[in-house]
Amino acid sequence: MTAVAAKPAAGGAMNPTAMVVGLVLLVIILGICWKVSPGLGLMALIGMVVGGVLIGFGTHFVPVGGAPAAMGQAPGIATGVAMLAAGAGLAGLFGGAWAAEQGLVVAVVTGAIGGGLMMAITCMMVNFIYVFGMGIPAASGKVKVDPITGDTQPEFKSQGTEGHGLPFVSFVGGVIGGILAGGGGTLIYLMLLDLYKATLPTLMKATEAQIMPVAISAAGIFAVGMFLVNAVLTAYNITGTIEGPHDPKFKRWPRAVVASAVASALCGLAAILIVVV
């Protein structure tokens, strides 16, 4: 059986019971956080949930092609979500981390620009290799005309493929996804950094300057961990591949938003409990 045929048929159906259970879990976790740390901790957790949701939602925009794209049989960037998230999203996170001292807004915007820029470069180089290296035109298999440029697609699509290359709408989707995911990752990092900067000095009986390396590194590794959890959950939601915002699979985003919110709240609670218990 080929890899294409063996794709799981997870379908676009929603599971209302599970969604409600997920939302109840989210409320319970927020409640626990309110109980143990009503002020600083709860604010940090809400920031992390927003960041996680941005990552989960943003990943839906990114044209993830997977192995079929590498063989020129499906549109998108020819790798998996885990690799794209690690490459583009973390580039944004690191960009934002450099600007952490300039305040929340500047840092988040810097992170978003970092992620978007990395995705723009990735998408351009991918198309460069598709067109000049593999000799295939960009054509979407999911829509008749490109929703942004209005270019027709089926004439350029090879028989037996789901489309190939990276159409303009996928490129734009990739950049939007990079902006959202980069900003979300930076937001998680900043929330944790502020929390650790405020609580670690008393916990470790040292000055703020002394604990800064620990605070930065711990916040960074938590942000990376939560970023990867959210990105992989979204990858499960789209069963590995998506063309961009015009893909029918994009409509599945409410499921990923709920899952990302609960997962971020859970991981964020653990990160907060380290310093408040």
């Binding site: 019971t17 690690a86 620990v214 590194s217 380290i274």
Partner: protein, 282 residues
Amino acid sequence: MTVKIEVIAGGIPHTKIMVGGIIASLVCLYLSYLNVVTGTEMFSFFGGLAVVAALIWGSNTIKVLCSYGIGTGVPSAGMIAFGSGVIAMLLATKFGIAAPIVTLVLAAVVGLILGYLSNEVLNMKIPAMVQSLTELAVVGAFTLMGFAVLMTGGFTFAALTAGSVTIMGLSLPSYQVSFIGGSLIATAFMLGALAVQHPFNACLGPGWTQDRMLMLAAECGFLSMFVAAIMSFALITTGSALISLVVALVGWGYTYMQYIGLSKRDAASWLDAKPIPDVEGH
């Protein structure tokens, strides 16, 4: 709903590997407590052995999970394992001597909830999903804790965050020279995440055999342990780090030879092509 693309047949049953992995990792992590009992850092290498045990278990779990076409590629399983594992492991280090047990429980809870989210909320409907993500979170947490022990000699939050620098014979406390403060945890994260997903990613296919994959997992574990042992020179005494280094080298050499042997056994035919030709005869 889903199509199973490969059959799990033959070899050791997964439950046996799972129980063995949990016990071996826990025992190795607790054996490293001999550091505190004897007041040395000589037993840090047990952390590396815990890493190897957890990775062998983890690669078989990934085999169980990825036998269903989850569509996201094998590496994503390694990434979510360590993403959830690092969070549980860092919280567990706050519990002192109980840390390894607490890691097991916390990681299992985090993994269970993530498994529920993927299977029910995201509607994946894969039978092995919940159990596999639970196991993978524990594998990730144990591997990171093992690396922490290997590099610092301890598994408590204090041991992971505080180090000391010696300036002109004077030992000063420094938070920068530590597992977390020096961001060695980020390297450990990637060393483990690559080592846990690589064995199945490299061995999958119609010719998959379990013993070959597990041997490759052990080889990846010892190779990661070798790199981590080199980094441990910065944090523990030279003699202790040398012990870890020698254990890693011997383990890697043995498992590598075994893996090559198993690859030759499973290959249809074998030709030693000699990439560097012998020119002396000319």
